[in-house]
């Protein structure tokens, strides 16, 4: 009978399934397989895959590496807070610190070059949200995530923090230049 009564046929599992239902199950199954294959296909042929390279670290260790990188590659400072602008060597490693409530330092990249950007947090979770490109990556304390990035267009880009990190969350804005 209806869905609120026990099935009228005690042997309901022996009832044949209608052709239309089979067809829809078939469509749903095949579509699921296509979507599954799409993710694997993109890993092989696609150009936008999030890096798997990550290491356990500590805020102190990561900060030390980042400070060394900044000391060696700073080309100028900007804003009244004298935030260093650091030119990442073409094809080389850049470090970006997320902390309450800033992205540090400012990175300068070149169009068409591939960089290994190391991301980690000093305190809470933060969200790396590159705008207006709209790439979003979670930044977690204790983990150093090495993301290979190739900017495709010149311009000034903003890094918005999009993981809630306390009262100053909305003022946590960073910058990347692509020359």
């Amino acid at each position: 009978m209806s869905a609120i009564l026990p099935p009228s046929d005690r042997l309901w599992w022996k009832q044949p399934i209608d052709k239309v239902e089979w067809a829809w199950i078939g469509i749903a199954f095949v579509w699921g397989m296509i979507m599954f294959a799409m993710m694997i296909y993109w890993h092989i042929y696609g150009k936008q895959n999030l890096s798997n390279e990550a290491y356990k670290t500590t805020p102190e260790l990561f900060a030390a590496k980042a400070e060394k990188f900044i000391a060696e590659n700073t080309i100028r400072t900007e804003t009244d807070q004298d935030i260093p602008v650091v030119k990442v060597p073409a094809g080389g490693d850049g470090y970006l610190i997320a902390r309450l409530w800033a992205w540090y330092p400012i990175l300068e990249l070149e169009e068409g070059q591939t960089y290994k950007i190391h991301l980690s947090s000093m305190d809470y979770l933060h969200g790396f949200s590159l705008q207006p490109v709209n790439i979003n990556i979670e930044v977690i304390p204790g983990y150093e995530h090495v993301v290979k990035m190739t900017p495709t267009k010149k311009g000034t880009y903003a890094i918005v923090c999009n993981e809630y990190c306390g009262i100053g969350h909305h003022s946590m804005l960073g910058r990347i230049y692509v020359k």
């Binding site: 009978m1 209806s2 026990p6 005690r10 199950i25 800033a102 979003n136 999009n162």
Partner: protein, 564 residues
Amino acid sequence: MATTYRTCPISGMQFEDQAEKLMRWNAVAGVLWLLVGGVTALLVILTRWPAIKLLPADQFYLILTAHGIDMLILWILFFEMAVLYFASSTLLRCRIATPKIAWLGFWLMVVGGIITNVAIFQGESSVMFTSYVPMQAKPHFYLGIILVAVGALLGTCVFFGTLVVAKKDKTYQGSLPLVTFGALTAAIIATFTILSGAGILIPTFFWSMGWIKEIDAQLYRMVWWGLGHSSQQINVAAHVSVWYLTAAVLFNAKPLSEKVSRFAFLLYILFLQLASAHHLLSDPGMSAEWKVLNTSYFMYFAVMASMIHGFTVPGAIEAAQRRKGFTNGMFEWLRKAPWGNPVFSGMFISLVSFGFLGGISGVVLGTEQINMLMHNTFYVPGHFHTTVVSGTTLAFMSITFLLVPVLFRRELILPKLCQIQPYLYGISMGVLGLVMMGAGTLGVSRRHWDMAFSGAPFQYEWPGAAYLMMGLTGIFGVLAVIGGGLWILLIVGSLLFGKKLDGGKVSDKPTPIPVETQAASAVAHGSDHQPVPGTVVLALLLFVTFVLYYFVNWKYLSEVWLLS
């Protein structure tokens, strides 16, 4: 324990005294939490509306934390307890197992909910619904949630026990009704979910007391989402059951195939829990293989299950309507459906919203690489307002219009407004979800107080379209709050002032569900097959929309910076 059984004269359903009281108290508690959640919703909306920006930052984050907890945990869980007791004791016409434990569970949930809310409103626990470590709330914030979880687990056990009672007392013959089977699915997922929650929140509580030094932030996210996402899967199983229930009560619809619908529920049990991965796709700590396998619910088997329900629910209604003679063309069955009955209109809007908006956006959002375009943007709350709100909440609201006369024995007040409510709420919430997703596609962040980044060392100007989307979010958000507030007014008003209805015959013994004669089951078997062309057209429309939107997003992804 001595108890009585009341047979409702309107529906013919039989309510055991203790179970009936439990359902009423749980439903009323749910509605009260919805009220708190609704007030906080209005404050959140009016703050994110760039033209208004009502609250200062600290109050905004406090209110947003309360909104998440009160809606996603408290309103939904209390209502689901009522659904579980209904699907077991009422549908199987038996006494409820261990009512005292059920009451203990209820009061634990009440006390836990209040404790957590006190913690939030004291102001030092604005850690959001997700309470990611290492940001720390006060210990009683976690303690309250743990109590709610223990209470819900007790309720779930009472549900399982009640199934055993029905079997033992032989109040039904053969297999469980489909709706009860769906509720059983929800309860099994709930057990897993609550254990995941205990697995992370108890250590986190210890950590907040200083008894544990550190909790790994990545590990927290993985285990917490075993609670956070899986609890939404309880909602899916519960509201799909409510859809089948509505179809059965209003249309006397029977499932197109018991086997297919039950198999789809079984797929939920097997695969839905993997969805914790949906929240970790842009995280450093998991490998791509892990992400691909888990985010797709092991090759999309749970998506397949939802697509099956999306076909069989309207299909069952169409078949029932056609049997009644609405056979002209493709859609007479749908045109002549009771659109003026809020039980039906709410259920159907919920079905469409969950399928077209929530389902499709969810799968796209949960695609490993595409997730990078949307992770933590306003797209995410946009998505889940079309699943858990215009899907689950609307389904629960619409079934309540049925429960007021049947369970609470009151006539609905202001029937004209009751007719309007599902349209006002469902449509404004659906549009709200869409414009939120629109803003998210343009990059706007979720859980963010100020689009203008006041106090930041630099400036970033969002595209004008993003401000437009946020303005529309404000307008449709307010409309949705009005629709939700109207529902609370109508329901509470009916409980207080609605005309009292006759409760029906009371007896000391349950009347078992009559066993159908052999002749009846012979008729039901195969021979009355009813084609459902209208449902096929609707399903194909869903499929085409799904495929187009899915590939459009791959196109977007191919245009961003190269990443490897």
